[in-house]
């Protein structure tokens, strides 16, 4: 990534709907991150990347390009072979309370109710039961799962399970919400609904979101900024600010000129990786 692309980000802040929250200093700084597995496969090759505070940034790239690996490195779940990740200027050495993750396969405890699952992050932090269940109940309502507190995950549809996964991530009140292809395991109609609901939820929650997807439409629909990764071993191939105002009604976005143009442009860029 060259200096001019990096400098492009603060200039866009003015047009951002959550303008008050966003400021110039990046909340996450990825510096020269390289990931090589023991078997010699190289997943990431010197990734430099700034994630702006208070906005939704998407990592987009072809399947198997190492998007999820990069997300897990930022989460502190796996250490990179080389390079560093800093969150709020502190080098990441492991998971921390400033980061929460929504998992692709939901990662709900099958033996626990929705209430306990949503409260589980707080349970691990030793928050007393009454307190954590009150917090969990609020987020269960916010994600639209009210009435399902005492159901088990296998009694819920895929979409509802991911709502629970989202509520759990919100309940710990982390600065950064990471989402690893969160809607890829649900059907198309449910996915659109979840995307719309996520946008309205983020209007209230004002989080920094790092979103991983391989869907161009999803990326453009949700994101303030899109980071395009190349095929493995991945580098940052381009950064696009969508310039879409996400406080407009959800169905307006899909008719927005900028939405349609950006989808086309990104497709043009990504096509070259699909030989």
């Amino acid at each position: 990534m060259d200096a001019s692309t990096r400098d492009a980000c603060p200039a866009r802040d003015a047009g951002h709907p959550a303008g008050g929250v966003a400021d110039a200093t990046p909340i996450v700084r990825v510096d020269g991150v390289t990931m090589r597995y023991a078997n010699g496969v190289s997943a990431l090759d010197g990734i430099d990347l700034d994630i702006p505070r208070g906005r939704l940034t998407t990592l987009l790239g072809p399947s198997g390009c190492g998007k999820t690996t990069l997300l897990k490195i930022i989460a502190g779940l796996i250490p990179p072979t080389a390079g560093t990740v800093a969150v709020n200027d502190r080098i990441v050495t492991g998971p921390g309370p400033d980061r929460a993750l929504v998992f692709q396969d939901f990662a709900l405890l099958p033996w626990a109710t929705v209430l306990r699952n949503v409260a589980f992050g707080l349970e691990l932090r030793g928050v007393p039961r009454a307190e954590r269940e009150a917090i969990a109940a609020k987020y269960i309502r916010d994600v639209g799962l009210a009435g399902f507190e005492h159901q088990y995950p296998n009694q819920l549809s895929g979409g509802m399970r991911q709502r629970a996964g989202l509520a759990r991530a919100l309940a710990v009140d982390a600065d950064i919400l990471m989402m690893d292809e969160p809607f890829s395991a649900v059907d198309e109609q449910m996915r659109r609904k979840l995307q719309e609901d996520l946008l309205s939820l983020l209007q209230v929650e004002k989080k920094t979101v790092i979103f991983v997807t391989h869907s161009i439409e999803e990326a453009v629909y949700l994101s303030d900024r899109i980071v395009l990764l190349s095929r493995r071993p991945s580098r940052v191939s381009a950064i696009r600010d969508t310039g879409i105002a996400h406080d407009q009604p959800p169905d307006q976005i899909r008719r927005d000129r900028r939405y349609l143009d950006t989808v086309d442009e990104i497709w043009d860029t990504l096509k070259q990786y699909l030989q």
Binding site: L77, A100, Q104, A107, L124, N154
Partner: protein, 252 residues
Amino acid sequence: MTARSILDHVPSGVSLLVWAALWELVGRFGGIDLIPPMSQIALTAIDIVQTEKFVTALAVTAQAFGIGMALAIVVGIPLGVLMGVWRPAERLLDVWVNIFISAPLTALVPALMPLLGIGQTTVVATVFLFAVWVLVIDTRAGIHHVGGSLLDMARLFGGSRTQIFFKVLLPGALPEILTGLRLAVVRGVKGVVIGQIIIALLGFGELFELYLQNFLMEEFWALVFVVFALAFVLVEAVGLVERRFDFYAGSR
């Protein structure tokens, strides 16, 4: 109703009744001394279970089974957990577990006798040897089956090693551990009876020996069926507990 749909509605217990009726016929009209009529076996069974000999044998058997199973659980589950979470332990112990799970352990019982004496200790050891390996293997499988994303999730939300072990790994492995327990009970029941029969001085082994020596076929068969029934009920009871946890076994 068609013939097919009638067959679909026949309760599974009927085949047992048919078998008992056939046995009754062969017993009455077959003229084989080894096979007395089922009705007489049933009556003898009712008598036998009330005798002091039977009650003593049952107590001795239950004691050997109980102690052997308890040892198998105390050793087998932690060993399985250890092998599930710590690769060196798995590498070193895997070959032993695989040898013993497939070995015809009955052959070992005579070798145990000079070591442990011709008595209850040998029977306890037999139960243990029969039961422990399947518990080790299923517990390890259960630990391995706990999804990687659940462990990532627990780490991500700040879980300590102890928390991850008790709140994620152990409950996650519970369905497989319970399956292992049921299979261990199946094997333990075999172990206790085989041990007693080889020693031939204890519990049901002593009774079987006594009946066969004196050609008391009614008593012999009565005892066989009583022991079958006890084993069946025991295994079903464990299976009942196992099924209560089924609701999450399939959803990981």
